[in-house]
Amino acid sequence: MSRAPLLERSELVEIIAALGGRDPRSVDETLGSLELTWLVTELEQRYAVVLELSEAHLARIATVTDALDVLNSVLTTAAPADAGR
């Protein structure tokens, strides 16, 4: 598996907008917990990894900008999805 490239903000917003079939322009900066679950699921699929977010990670994510920061950092060290199964 190749290492996941750094996520762009626009990609992240597009993924969030797909929840509920919204226009990316209507995505808010504040991120809800369901949107975060959606994001993690989508990124896990896209990069075939397991994103183990710690408590500390989650506590830092309140906005799209926070999510971009944290998820990019977690993606670089994420284990492949089939590891340990």
Partner: protein, 472 residues
């Protein structure tokens, strides 16, 4: 109303023999729960006995009261059953409530014992369960039960404080009977993967209690992502039903290449309306139906479509009588489910007024169209906008406020006193309300727009325009 509550008290659990008969019977080795590790009935019974000692030590006895504020966990299940087995009246508080909300609930309910766990981990949004140690504390000002209800739940009221809803053991047993009569609901030897909260009626009765009653293994996924849920489905060869809120159906429908899941029987969702297109997308992705259920805290499961073939209609469950009057769904219910004074707009003359708009169909089916009042659903959790508006309006420095719900999110519009910052208001609101109830946006205006007759404008488009004009 007093006489009706008294009559329900007569059928209430003076002692908890019903727990063994209805929920805990079965072979020692029968699989029953899986929070990471499998737990059989013998182990569960031992855990319940241990929690019973803990509660008795804290002073709980038959006719006593206890409030549970625990995340989904083995400790929650054992403590709930233990409290009922002791003949206690159990109030369930969502562990996500803000501290101030828990305090208000305890003031109102006055339980004799409070059971809390170590703080739920911050990763709760992505975890299916927690591992906490329940701690029981005696509360000095607690009062014994005044009614025979086994279960007390709080539900958002459209005006004033939460409604207090009581259910007797007989009522819970009747609901379990309705589940048992649903031909496609999981039965003995099958599994339920539960994604819904075990504090609220769907996950509590349709998930936990039904599983214990019917001999179904209840599985809580370790992770609530699509991969985590599908993993939990794939573990085992027994027919498996996933129960949750519609968000998870959407989440699973988005999986591009799901693994082969030959034992996946169906998914059943409830708690809010399913978006058009989701049932078809789900069925196309997994080759199994997306069923829907309609229920209320007051009564439990009311009507279902477990095949996905009736969508958006649902069929009443056995023994329930539904009627659509003036566009609102009413359900025959001999006694008021509310403790204290009953609002006649919610229950009168033997009928529960659901406040859900509905359309009747031939053959007794109904189509639920949405709420008639200010209650909305955020990820399946009920939020009353009036409660949010009242809380915001009561904060120091908030001159006036309006809450609206648009595109699935709660937005607050407020005019603040000069010295008050939006940040300070947000912070205070965070202390007063659970995170799922908090407005996603707080838009500050110099003054809120009003209608020609001087009332606060509540139209979302008008408010948005005013906020844009004010640069908010």
């Amino acid at each position: 109303m007093t006489s009706l509550l008294s009559s329900s008290a007569q059928t209430g659990p003076q002692q908890g023999a019903w727990v063994d008969r209805v929920l805990l019977s079965g072979g020692e080795d029968d699989p029953c729960l899986r929070f990471g590790r499998p737990c059989d009935r013998g182990t569960l019974r031992a855990q319940v006995a241990e929690r019973q000692r803990q509660l008795a030590d804290a002073g709980l006895a038959a006719g006593g009261t206890v409030a549970l504020c625990l995340p989904p966990s083995p400790g929650y299940v054992a403590t709930l059953l233990a409290a009922w087995r002791l003949g206690g009246q159990v109030s369930l508080l969502d562990h996500r409530l803000a501290e101030a909300e828990v305090r208000r609930a305890l003031d109102r309910l006055a339980p004799q014992v409070l059971v809390q766990g170590t703080k739920a981990p911050g990763g709760a949004a992505l975890r299916g369960y927690a591992d906490v140690e329940p701690v029981a504390t005696a509360l000095r000002r607690g009062r014994p039960a005044e009614t025979g209800h086994a279960l007390i739940q709080l539900s958002s009221g459209s005006t004033g404080p939460s409604k207090v809803i009581g259910r007797t053991a007989a009522d819970l047993e009747a609901e379990l009977g309705r589940y048992a009569l649903l031909p496609r609901f999981p039965r003995r030897g099958e599994r339920i993967v539960l994604l819904a909260s075990m504090v609220h009626v769907l996950g509590l009765v349709g998930g936990l209690l039904h599983a214990l009653h019917a001999g179904v293994e209840l599985v809580l996924p370790e992770r609530l992502t699509a991969a985590g849920i599908l993993d939990a489905v794939s573990w085992d060869q027994r027919p498996t039903t996933v129960i949750g809120v519609p968000f998870y159906a959407e989440l699973l429908s988005g999986v591009a290449q799901p693994p082969g899941l030959p034992h996946f029987a169906r998914m059943i969702v409830a708690g809010e309306l399913v978006r058009p297109g989701v049932p078809a997308a789900f069925a196309a992705r997994y080759g199994v139906p997306l069923g829907t259920m309609y229920g209320m805290t007051e009564l439990g499961v009311i009507a279902t479509d477990l095949t996905g073939e009736l969508h958006p209609a649902v069929e009443p469950t056995a023994g329930l009588c539904l009627e659509v009057r003036d566009g609102e769904l009413h359900i025959l219910m001999p006694a008021s489910p509310y403790l204290g004074a009953t609002d006649p707009a919610r229950w009168s003359d033997g009928w529960l007024h659901t406040r859900d708009a509905a359309r009747a169909q031939d053959g007794g089916r109904v189509v639920i169209l949405g709420r008639n009042d200010s209650q909305v659903s955020i990820g399946g959790l009920k939020v009353d906008l009036t409660e949010v508006e009242h809380t915001l309006g009561s904060l120091p420095g908030v001159a006036e406020s309006v809450i609206v719900f648009e595109d699935g999110v709660i937005t607050a519009y407020a005019a603040l006193a000069d010295a008050t910052s939006a940040e300070a208001v947000r912070r205070r609101l965070g202390q007063e309300l659970a995170s799922y109830k908090q407005p996603r946006h707080l838009r500050v205006l110099p003054a809120l727009p009003r209608t020609a007759t001087g009332k606060l404008l509540r139209d979302p488009a008008g408010l948005r325009k005013a906020a844009e004009a004010a640069g908010g």
